[in-house]
């Protein structure tokens, strides 16, 4: 239940937004171009027979000539379907429907063949759709050929068995074993019953017709209504794929209803406002976006236009925004739903409600008909209409009293109107006041229609006053919806104040003492911006008046911080600045030459030592004479030289382990040869001493 209610509210909001201005325009060229777009031809056909029928029927109603290019291929499909003994009842029905429009060449034999099949189908029909397709098929055969006599012998029985599916509230079930009742089914049933009535060979029982009429009235009692007067039939069974919403349900009901009224030839007392409400519902959809919806909308409107119930007339306004400065005239057009001309009638402006106040002024003024464009024109707006929002209420008066039975005018039509004009802005001035005395420190006049650049300065003990006056072209005070004073600090913090009106004048006084907290104690330059605008003000403006240099006290510690300003997105996403690593500077070293000089100095003592040896006449006379000691002495010194060489190699390239290994071997060798040499030398010198 809540779900359905929710849906209802949604639908209400939706349609309310779609036809907000409560003006329902009749079918126009935009529907025609949409139809050509939506029903697209691919491979020479519109698709299935059902789609073809929908396309052709829509084109027929809208008066679009586009049969020739698809006719050949479609007719071939129609003849195939009708001729084939295995085609389903539904396909036969669709083929006959298409044939009804295209008038393909079918012989009477074909008709006779399918007629017997259809009659058999009627006899074993169980569901509503079986009846619908078969009765509909018979109706179509009857329309398309005069050679074949189509009669229903047992019309009463068929009527009763269809009627048995009806529900108490005027809705129908699709079949006896499906308990869900549907409005869509009601429309289908009405159309089927209309077929039964017109095919009946003898008159149908009057009491049956009477109960059916009663059902229709009950069905209309359950109609849903929007605020703007549009009516529709709600469909509870919603299937996302079939999309049997309220549009298709309402369309099918209208179709069935008009068919039934035509067939039964009796009068049916349905309220005219519900019929025009239905028309408003279909028109309120605008231009649907799907082919099926367009078909349903157009077909329903065509039924309403040609119905015997009552033909709704639609009052529409080409423009609801009227400018006083351009001297726009109020124009009203009355058409039928499909946009064809209305019968002779006159339009009367009955009442004007001003949207601000509750009172309505009664006008009762007849609009003048411009016969060439068929537009009713109100040449001058009534005297008491100033700029503002109004609701105009119109009435349609039919000239011929006979027409009142045929046409539904839908009573009064109310239309919201905007009367716009140029508002004059005068006596604009800005001033700085001293707080306690209220004396004027600086006062500057402003020209709000031109450029302004005032430069003011104030401290927290002073006040800022801005005042101006707005008058309508008729000299009355005007109060706009938007009158904002904006102070914008250089850091981006904004403060907005609504400029209020006192009597004739608009005035705002900003006492900075009370505002320091709100201003976050931010001193500095504030830009002053004034925005005045309204829906009916043609010269709405946004103006920079200048700037104000504010000197506010320093913020106490606990004061609120100004809110963060949004970061500009472009700056957030740009590339970052490049970073290069700064390498450690290499150690400072003395120049090469200096090192070489010191190298030379360091080597000097060695040369001094060598020179000293020469000076002292050093000799090697103590070298052993015999072979074995000499060999050992030579090996000893070579060993020392090898150790020193090893050290050099260690410096140049060897690592510690190799060096120590080599040094170990060399050490052992040196110990051995050194011992031999030194002991030889020692024994020699001992011999000398003892000697």
């Amino acid at each position: 239940m809540t779900r359905n209610l929710g849906f209802l509210v949604v639908a209400l909001v939706l349609v309310a937004s779609l036809c907000e201005a409560k003006i329902f325009n009749p079918i126009s060229d935009s529907h025609r171009s949409a139809a050509l777009q939506l029903f697209s031809v691919s491979d020479g056909s519109f698709g299935s027979l059902e789609e073809t029928y929908e396309a052709l029927r829509t084109f027929e109603v809208l008066g679009i000539e586009k049969k020739a290019d698809t006719r050949a291929s479609t007719c071939a499909t129609v003849v195939d379907t009708i001729g084939s003994p295995s085609s389903a009842l539904k396909d036969l029905f669709q083929a006959l429907r298409v044939n009804g429009i295209l008038k393909c060449e079918l012989n009477d034999e074909a008709f006779k063949g399918i007629m017997s099949r259809i009659k058999d189908a009627i006899n074993d029909a169980h569901s509503l759709l079986d009846y619908y397709y078969s009765i509909g098929g018979l109706m179509l055969i009857k329309d398309q050929t005069s050679e074949v006599a189509v009669h229903l012998g047992d019309a009463d029985r068929i009527f009763r068995s269809i009627k048995a599916l009806s529900q108490g509230d005027g809705r129908w079930r699709f079949s006896s074993n499906n308990p869900e009742s549907s409005t869509y089914a009601a429309g289908v049933a009405l159309e089927t019953l209309a077929g039964v009535v017109s095919l009946a060979s003898s008159e149908i029982d009057h009491s049956l017709i009477a109960t059916l009429k009663n059902d229709i009235v009950k069905l209309f009692d359950g109609i849903e209504k929007y605020d703007d007067g549009a009516c529709y039939f709600d469909e509870k069974i919603i299937d996302a794929h079939m999309h049997q919403g309220s549009l298709s349900a309402s369309s099918v009901v209208v179709h069935g209803l008009t068919a039934f009224v035509t067939a039964a030839r009796g009068s049916l007392n349905l309220p005219g406002d519900k019929i025009s409400g239905l028309a408003k519902f279909f028109l309120g959809i605008g231009v649907p976006g799907s082919a099926k919806d367009l078909y349903h909308q157009i077909v329903a409107l065509a039924c309403l236009e040609n119905s015997r119930v009552s033909v709704p007339l639609i009052l529409s306004l080409p423009a609801t925004v009227l400018s006083v400065s351009r001297k726009d005239q109020l124009k009203v057009r009355v058409n039928t739903v499909l946009g064809s001309a209305a019968p002779p009638l006159s339009v009367k402006l009955v009442q004007i409600f001003s949207s601000g106040s509750k009172d309505a002024s009664v006008i009762d003024q007849e609009l003048k008909l411009d016969p060439e464009s068929a537009v009713h024109v109100l040449e001058t707006l009534p005297k008491n209409v100033d700029v503002g929002k109004y609701i105009f209420s119109f009435e349609i008066l039919l000239h011929d009293p006979e027409h009142k039975k045929i046409y539904a005018t839908g009573g009064r039509t109310t239309v919201p109107l905007y009367v716009t004009g140029v508002i004059s802005v005068d006596h604009a001035e800005i001033a700085i006041l001293d707080s306690d005395l209220g004396s004027v420190e600086i006062q500057k006049k402003l020209d709000l229609s031109g450029e302004n650049a005032v430069a003011l300065s104030a401290n927290h003990l002073q006040k800022l006053r801005l005042s101006f006056q707005l008058t309508t072209p008729f000299g009355r005070t005007f109060k706009p919806h938007q009158a904002f004073l904006k102070l914008r600090h250089e850091s981006g913090v904004e403060h907005i104040f609504v400029v209020g009106s006192s009597g004739k004048k608009f005035e705002i006084v900003l006492d900075f003492l009370g505002l320091v907290e709100k201003f976050f104690y931010l001193s500095g330059r504030y830009d002053i911006q004034l925005t005045v605008g309204d829906t009916v003000m043609e010269n709405s403006f946004l103006q920079l008046l200048g700037y104000l240099e504010l000197d506010l006290p320093d913020a106490p510690e606990k004061a609120a911080r100004p809110p963060p300003q949004p970061v500009h997105p472009y700056s957030r996403y740009g590339p970052k600045a490049e970073i290069t690593h700064i390498f450690r500077a290499p150690e400072k070293r003395p120049p090469r030459d200096l090192s070489f000089v010191f190298l030379g100095l360091v080597l000097l003592p060695f040369f001094g030592f060598v020179a000293g040896l020469f000076y002292l006449r050093a000799n090697l006379r103590n070298l052993p004479k015999s072979t074995v000691p000499v060999t050992f002495a030579m090996l000893f010194h070579l060993g020392i030289a090898a150790v020193l060489l090893l050290y050099t190699f260690f410096w140049l390239k060897l690592d510690l382990f190799t060096t120590l290994k080599a040094l170990g071997f060399l050490g052992m060798f040196l110990t051995f040869v050194g011992h031999r040499t030194l002991s030889h030398l020692a024994s020699t010198s001992a011999k000398l001493k003892s000697a």
Partner: protein, 441 residues
Amino acid sequence: MAGRKFPTVLLLILNLLSFLPFLTISFSPDHPTDRRILVLLDDLALKSSHSIFFTSLQSRGFDLDFKLADDPSIAVKRYGQYLYDGLILFSPSTDRFGGSLDLEGVLDFVDSGHDLILAAETSASDLIRSVAAECGVDFDEDPSAMVIDHTGYAVSQIEGDHTLIAADDFVQSDVILGSTKIEAPVLFKGTGHSLNPDNSLVLKILSASSSAYSANPASKLSNPPLLTGSAISLVSVVQARNNARIIISGSLDLFSNRLFRSGVQKAGSSYKYEKSGNEQFVTELSKWVFHERGHLKAVNLKHNMVGGTDEPSMYRINDDLEFSVEIYEWTGSSWVPYVANDVQVQFYMMSPYVLKTLSTNEKGLYHTSFKVPDVYGVFQFKVEYQRLGYTGLSLSKQIPVRPFRHNEYERFITTAFPYYGASFSMMAGFFIFSIVYLYNK
């Protein structure tokens, strides 16, 4: 009997075959465009009144699944697998979704990298507001507030309340709005929102003019409205860190056939555009949100020593290295080289030591070379590429940097020659002295 069975089997195989291309082109990292989209509507009439938008999506190969927002069979996830790649919420007044979907469900859907289009209206439900709030967008608290602009409205013969706004303050981003400039203003009718300043991912795409304000047009203003001027965002997008994309619009009518087809003349200008910019705007935006554009991938992140080709396991300080990465952009059907001059690499250890712009060969390869800093530790090559509208790239590769080994320092320093000289002269002296001392007489 067998004759009848055969066509059935054939049909089955054909059916399976027809699914095959569908499976291969569904969403994957290598094919990031969304495919299956769930559309939740308040009313099925929207399907027809917004059909141009839906048809354009379908003609681009998206598989739309329309459901009423309160349909009890709604499920976006089954057995831990998401059934859809994208979600369109055209149900501004829904208080509760049907089925298993709820606020958390929608957020989880986005958190797992899926995309969302959300359209609200005046009197949007709390559910829709909280979805938007989670994305960093706050709609006007007043449910009846609309964006009104008395100087930037669309001139109309029948709508005089200045709530139909001709907005032309677009974000400057070719990747989001396409490279073709949107000439005609976009018609907007609905509620405005502000962006949460703490959220750095949300971005204003279409903002109101400075004279706009958000208020209830039917009632008099006594307090200043909460949202005014260009701070009002009309349409915003979010690109989450996981590259999920979201569009939030304050107007459902923005997507409608009526405004798509409508002409537009901005107040104060005498030029009337035949067609509003809505269709182009919405189409381009939907291409972006469903990853047909602006989706980047980076592959083949490589580095090596100058002159080498292999990737070393470690660098030494002061080495010269070469770095390269390939970046490609998804066009909706294939990956093409991405060309830009602002891709940067960082050599990063707690903070970037080197940040360098990469040069490109215009074929997707970005490369550069630099010297490893003289600081050792565990570094990362980092490519952080965040650009307006593009998916973010965030790559990193770890690489240790070691100091010099003991034998890699400089030997034979000239400055030390006096010391060397001293040692060797000492050694030579010792050698000579040992001979002279032993054998002198």
